[in-house]
């Protein structure tokens, strides 16, 4: 979530900023053009006040609002807030000679690096044009031989339990006979012997992904916590610790223990419903984090338990985990510390050897394996890492689920899939491939107002989400944001029920790992093999 060690530019990567660096003349040109309809603009200056990147300004002498295109990041805050709809932001049309290889994007990145000498930094999940496998997987529906179920009339169950499950139930039977009025009656008593390992109970198979305090504002966290509470699901603190005021949402909180160990103490572990060891994240597998000192405000310093104004550095690896047995030690240390009362999750990025890694994690004692795919989001990551490292979550889910089943240990841990879930159909497909639940991060942020401008790392989020600026954090009213999140979860849940009903399934257990209800369309043979699904047109 934090900016990485070599920071290109602490503020926006704009022409202005680069000019300040060490070049007189930048070769960059703006990404966007802001158009103002003079017939509609009433010069109310709402846009001027809303832009934290100072793209708009009011020229008193000319009595006119001016716009500096080079500063615009296309967050669309001004366009959304403009009371007359006078503002349009569009792609900047500069006639760079068309070249499939040396695209405008490539050129701009070269200019930027030649002007700053730094690593390119970005936010959110990769925007690169990789094939989205979700869009090549089709769902089944019941016709004639099997009635579809109307979720408005019939029960439709989405409840999901995350955690290790035993292989089988154990109980003791006691039969007793007694005389009733006319005949002998026999009653049999089943005494449950199985003690279930701790479980997380979800009313719908969706959780809010890890986003840390520091990367996101307190108001954003408040919204996530409230929404999780209302929906009967969970949110995740990320690695930035848990502000004391959110302790009351503990039963809906998954706390993270990451390589920086920020904010980890016994209270933090005790208050949570589950603990997650973060090994990696999909947007930047193998990369640590760096929250610049100026972002470490009083509140963040309290929460992260580090001095105010000091840089918060998350090492790339956990320096006490150099191998799988070390992970096992940390897992059991935390389990000991929490009295074996909470499920323990391990989050990893989906990398090439993910099936074996996941198997190792399960055998190391984790109750939940969270896998973050290629498209996973971030507050800050080196662009090259974000755009080129990892594998798509679709393939990772399938590989891991198959592997765990082959080894007969699938019941020993639940799988949470993460990384770019865009809608309820993606969720249904992930569950059918074998995930128990999904983490949503970007979708939740978008629900709260994010417009994916990918400038989280600047700390100037105009939507009040990824910022600590006192002027900006106020923009996100947690009550409104929580309502929007609840609506989103409700809407997706309704849709999942609708899809399941169409398939003739009335409990999510029967969808989970049910790959027979998926078909691949326009997928390569190898992809079908790894996904373990049939091509469209092939029947049972």
């Amino acid at each position: 979530m934090e900016s990485s060690a070599s920071v290109l530019c602490k503020s926006s990567v704009s022409v202005q900023c680069i000019r300040k660096a060490n070049m007189k003349k930048s070769l960059l040109f703006p990404d966007f053009t802001v158009t103002r309809d003079p017939d509609k603009c009433i010069q109310c200056e709402v846009c001027v006040r809303q832009c934290a990147f100072d793209a708009h300004s009011f020229d008193k002498e000319a009595n006119k609002i001016e716009t500096d295109n080079s500063k615009c990041v296309s967050c669309l805050r001004c366009a959304t807030m403009c009371p007359t709809g006078a503002i349009t932001v569009s792609e900047h049309q500069q006639n760079i000679k068309k070249n499939k290889n040396w695209t405008e994007k490539q050129l701009k990145e070269l200019y930027k690096q030649s002007e700053t000498g730094g690593i390119l930094l970005t936010g959110m999940g990769t925007d690169k044009d990789y094939k989205i496998i979700w869009d090549h997987i089709l769902l089944d529906a019941a016709q004639v031989t099997n009635p579809s179920i109307d979720p408005l009339r019939e029960p439709m169950e989405l409840r999901t339990y995350l955690g290790a499950k035993p292989d089988r139930i154990e109980f003791r039977v006691q039969s007793s006979e007694f005389r009733g009025q006319n005949k002998k009656l026999r009653t049999t008593n089943y005494e449950l012997q199985t003690k279930l390992p701790p479980q997380l109970k979800l009313e719908t198979p969706i959780l809010f992904s890890a986003m840390s305090y520091g990367a996101i504002s307190l108001n954003t966290m408040r919204a996530l916590a409230r929404a999780a509470d209302e929906c009967g699901i969970f949110y995740n603190t990320g690695e930035g610790g848990l502000p004391k005021e959110l302790y009351k949402y503990g039963k809906n909180t998954i706390v993270q223990v990451a390589s920086g160990r920020f904010g980890v103490d016994s209270d933090y572990l005790d208050v949570a419903a589950a603990v997650e060891i973060k090994v990696g994240q999909g947007a930047k597998p193998g990369i640590g984090g760096h929250l610049p000192g100026e972002k470490v405000t009083e509140e963040i310093s309290q929460t992260r338990m580090i001095p105010t104004g000091t840089d918060a550095l998350s090492p790339a690896p956990h320096h006490d985990i150099y191998s799988i047995e070390d992970l096992s030690q940390l897992i059991y240390s935390i389990k000991e510390a929490t009295g074996y009362k909470k499920p323990l999750s391990v989050k990893v990025a989906a990398v090439h050897n993910i099936a074996a890694i996941a198997s190792g994690i399960v055998r190391a004692g984790a109750d939940i394996v969270a896998i973050d795919g290629l498209r996973g989001g971030t507050g800050a990551a080196p662009t090259r890492i974000r755009d080129n490292v990892g594998i798509p979550i679709e393939l990772a889910i399938s590989a891991v689920d198959s592997r765990l089943r082959e080894e007969g240990i699938r019941n020993r841990a639940s799988i949470i899939a993460a990384g770019g879930f865009r809608n309820s159909a993606d969720v249904v497909k992930a569950i059918a491939l074998g995930a128990d639940a999904v983490y949503i991060g970007t979708a939740a942020l978008v629900a709260m107002g994010c417009h994916l401008c990918q400038k989280c790392y600047t700390g100037k989020c105009n939507w009040g989400i990824a910022t600590q600026d006192p002027y900006l954090v106020k923009r996100l009213n947690p009550e409104i944001a929580a309502r929007r999140l609840v609506n989103l979860i409700k809407a997706w849940s309704h849709e999942i029920k609708e899809i399941m009903g169409g398939m003739g399934i009335n409990a999510v257990e029967s969808l989970r790992g049910n790959r027979l209800r998926l078909r691949g369309f326009d997928l390569h043979e190898n992809e079908l093999k790894i996904l373990d699904i049939k091509p469209a047109g092939e029947s049972m």
Partner: protein
């Protein structure tokens, strides 16, 4: 698929001719399309009641030779013979039909000391059905047998001369297949060891039920969903030692909203059961009759999307897709017939099976234990 199912059990253990069940299933011929029918009868081989009886269908002599040499490796063949049939015009393209009465060889028992006799039999069945092309074991229990093929059930019954057998429990199925082409092995009932099942329905959860079973070493070779139910029962009853009533609650668990309303202990039990066995839940429209020779157990899916009628008359207990099937073979009075509710099984069981209880299943000698909740 849409089909008809029927079953009769005499709770006193009196044996009766297979003719009755043929009449019952014949009455519902509109529910079938002639692409498969079959019967399971219990108590039909009293002379060899301690031997495993394999009914095997072969495509050709070559596969018979292969399979028999395989059988001879693991088993002592007490008796082997072609299954008697008669000529019925409608029954065409008959495979070779043989039955064998088998005992597991002592040396094999010693070799697989960690396995029960039943496990060894199951392993052989899985092996033949999975690997031996052209051979298929359709039943493998004791003192029971499955008779099935492609055709209307009534014709199949006639073909196998079922009126000449007498048993105390019969279940039957007439098929209207949609998902799988009609072939002899794919007809119902499906059987493994003493267990047999007939199923009218389609399992929307088959994909996960199959994968779940594969984790426990089952091989689902028939590409038909009904097979999964059979193995789920085998897993739950034989391997996990659940009583029938609880196995039923695994396959068709109460809704979470119902579980929440239960008293504390019961709630915890059902919650645990459902959490552990989520992948064994069978979803989709179904009416199912299963039998293990001790009882006949009928139930429907959680929404009761397929029909099931039950009736009790004298010592006999009947189950069928339609009431007419029961009326056909037994004059019923008002009050004899009842309609099992959603989530409630209809059970007919042999009385005086008490003596089998103490033998239990703990030592794994294959006596199923059934007790009521």
């Amino acid at each position: 698929m849409g089909c008809s199912i029927a079953g009769i059990i005499d709770e006193k253990g009196n044996r009766f001719s297979g003719e009755k069940i043929i009449c019952a299933i014949k009455k519902m011929y509109l529910r079938a399309n002639g692409l498969g029918g079959g019967f399971a009868g219990y108590g039909i081989y009293p002379e060899n009641s301690d031997d495993f009886c394999f009914h095997i269908i072969y495509n050709d002599e070559k596969s018979r030779e292969n399979t028999e040499s395989y059988l001879k490796h693991d088993f002592e063949i007490v008796k082997e013979e072609p299954i008697p049939t008669r000529t019925v015009k409608a029954i065409v393209n008959r495979p070779l039909l043989f039955r064998y009465f088998l005992r597991v060889k002592d040396e094999i028992k010693k070799q697989f000391y960690e396995m029960t006799e039943e496990d060894i039999v199951m392993r052989s069945v899985m092996k033949i059905n999975g690997a031996q092309a052209g051979a298929f074991v359709i039943s493998s229990g004791k003192n029971m047998g499955i008779f099935k093929g492609v055709g209307y059930a009534a014709d199949i019954g006639k073909f196998y001369k079922l009126e000449e057998y007498s048993g105390y429990c019969w279940i039957a199925h007439d098929r209207f297949p949609t998902n799988t082409p009609g072939w002899w092995g794919g007809a119902h009932p499906f059987g493994l060891l003493n267990f047999s099942i007939v199923h009218n329905g389609e399992i929307s959860s088959y994909g996960i039920n199959k994968r779940y079973l594969e984790e426990f070493g089952y091989r689902l070779t028939l590409h038909t969903d009904s097979e999964a139910i059979l193995y789920l029962f085998d897993l739950l009853l034989r391997k996990h030692k659940l009583p029938m009533s609880l196995a039923h609650k695994v396959l068709c668990p109460p809704l979470w909203s119902e579980i929440e309303k239960m008293p504390e202990d019961e709630r915890k039990f059902y919650e645990t059961l459902r959490i552990i066995y989520g992948s064994a839940l069978i979803n989709g429209p179904s009416a199912i009759i299963v039998s293990d020779g001790k009882m006949m157990f009928g139930f429907t899916d959680r929404l009761k999307l397929r029909p099931l009628v039950a009736a009790r008359n004298g010592s006999k207990f009947y189950l069928a897709s339609e009431e007419c099937a029961i009326q056909e073979i037994c004059p019923l009075k008002k009050g004899d017939v009842f309609f099992p509710k959603v989530g409630e099984p209809a059970i007919g069981k042999l009385r005086n099976t008490e003596q089998t209880r103490n033998k239990g299943t703990r030592n794994g000698h294959g006596k199923f234990r059934f007790s009521s909740v």
